[in-house]
Point group: C2
Chain length 360, copies 2
């Protein structure tokens, strides 16, 4: 059943989500305009890496930025350094934090660090959650937007109240900005304004921006210098990271300015879903380019219906469905370049028919 869904999605010309296939033209396009004689970076040195790091430090409003192969590596290292500095080896984050769910407990296995899960799985963490915390932590991690709940965010005031509270209590704050670009239009703030209250920040280049891989960690100068030692320790100080850096820079240029467009279109698309009888989105009104689509139907029925309309209208809705609680199932949606290509009437007819099939 699920392989049929993936196959049907793959065969469609139009896709609702993403920037198109993750294939090698992503790299080729990024390098087409690059001079062959451009020097490679060598162990963190060279214009190709240092210029991009300087650009990112400026964009995020931090003293220094360092390019890492992955956010997993960058964030574990940031937390270890804050824990060492504060001499408290405990950090707090949302129960659906990447560090807790997708890193095989690297933070706890590679470091003497414990995690405290703050707030509830189905909502953003709040100042109230933080104030109720009855143990010492060196660092609070905030993910903006919180991917596991469809990319929700605290309000700007709530966010700043949390950050102010942390400053008062001498708790370091780290921003998991894996999808930070995507949420800037909602807050209607610059990236550096959003980052200003945080002690350190990580951003990613292959999600909303559609690069190949890679991450930036940014923060105070001495902190970032020390992060290079940890990067080497982890085996992340590759002789050359330029394949990721050049593509990161390229797709940042291509897509950063499109974030408001993706955001607006995500709201429109979520509106279509919410008008369907047995479908709802989380959040109801997206605050970024992403949201989760839930069905009050069992997965088999949903897959059958989606395959039927994808095959008929040539529109890829989703390649997968995750079974949730009983008789509920869901998938994640993130608007990118691919959405722009779909004729609006085709999309509307496709989703209308999906609604009809699911309602019978």
């Amino acid at each position: 059943m699920y392989s049929k869904l993936a196959e049907s999605y793959k065969n469609t010309t139009y896709k609702l989500d993403g920037h198109g296939a993750r294939d090698m033209k992503v790299l080729k396009n990024a390098f087409d305009s690059v001079d062959s004689n451009t020097r490679a970076d060598a162990y963190g040195k060279g214009a190709v890496i240092n210029d991009f790091e300087a650009k990112m430090a400026h964009m995020l409003g931090k003293e220094k930025a360092v390019f890492f192969p992955s956010g997993t590596m960058a964030q574990q290292i940031a937390l270890r350094m804050w824990c060492d500095e504060e001499e408290i080896h405990q950090v707090a984050y949302h129960p659906l934090c990447h560090l807790e769910l997708y890193e095989e407990d690297g933070l706890k296995v590679l470091h003497p660090i414990e995690s405290v899960l703050l707030g509830e799985k189905d909502r953003v963490l709040t100042l109230k959650d933080l104030m109720a915390l009855d143990t010492d932590i060196s660092t609070l991690v905030i993910e903006l937007p919180q991917r596991g709940i469809g990319g929700q965010c605290p309000t700007w005031d709530e966010l700043n109240a949390i950050l102010d509270y942390c400053k008062k209590k001498v708790i370091k704050t780290h921003l998991d900005g894996a999808r930070l670009w995507e949420v800037s239009p909602y807050y209607d703030k610059s990236l550096s304004d959003i980052c200003a209250g945080f002690d350190s920040v990580y951003v990613s280049f292959y999600k909303g921006l559609g690069g190949i891989a890679g991450a930036i960690l940014a923060g105070p100068d001495a902190f970032m210098e020390k992060s290079k030692v940890w990067k080497r320790r982890y085996g992340g100080d590759l002789i050359s990271l330029y394949p990721y850096i050049v593509s990161a820079a390229y797709y940042l240029d291509q897509r950063l300015d499109k974030m408001p467009l993706y955001y607006e279109q995500a709201k429109v698309l979520a509106g279509y879903y919410n008008r369907m009888k047995s479908v709802y989105t989380v959040p109801e009104i997206p605050v970024s380019n992403m949201f989760h689509v839930y069905f009050h139907k069992d997965a088999e029925q949903v897959v059958h219906a989606i395959v039927q309309v994808m095959d008929k209208y040539n529109v890829g809705i989703t390649p997968y469905i995750i079974e949730n609680k009983d008789q509920d199932c869901m998938f994640e949606m993130a608007v990118g370049d691919a959405y722009q290509d779909i004729p609006k009437e085709t999309l509307e007819a496709c989703l209308l028919e999906l609604d009809t099939i699911l309602s019978t």
Copy 2:
């Protein structure tokens, strides 16, 4: 003085070492023949990574191989897994081992592992060193060739005596094969023959092969499956590693068969140096494409002489000199594609004049 040396080297048309400049045509050449529609790997899955891993497992004669961003990451992980399996958190290696010198103590900081330095800094480790060891170790690391001493190797018989002894004593053996391709012609053995006695092996793609970065760790099936968990823990399980994999595969195809040529030419070049009055190489007769060049002169005099002949003959001898003990200095040499381009008479005249200048 040293910047003048680097500058002079950079300006030469011919280079004695390497495969030419580390610039972005290294990537562009590798990708020129790749179909744009080739799917990217995704978190360790997909034909581009899995096919290459299978090819490498076969070439190295191991059950399974896993592609890593770096050897630093791969080797720390291999040693941690062997230590856990043997329940002995101590490993032994040569004093000039990469793990000891260039990894900011990652092995000891990220893991509960101690190192035992075996043998002496200026020679390969021997069976006798190992037999004199008076503490328990889970694993012995052997680097073939031993880079820190000009790429020396134990004889085939000594190597096998060491491996047999380890088997008897239930000590795991790990091969640091950062330059393994380079030493296969000397042993006159296939890669899988050399690897056969080792429990695990790491190989690199950017040294003798001249790729961009990346490493393979190979070993038993269950061991390698477990290594993927650690790879994720380290933040090395990037969404896509294909920029390194495609280039690794490309330069493997281009250069693996040239290793005997590089080896023969290294012996010829070392011969030139050893005929010079105040110069000698380590080893005297190379056993791979590499060797170290030592001068019984102070560095200033050597740099001055080298710059003089590099400028005159347009041949890059070395971009750097390291001061060794009193009145001695050295540089490392590794023969690659660049050597092929130098007119033999130019090279001979250049080194003859260097000898003359150094002798006055």
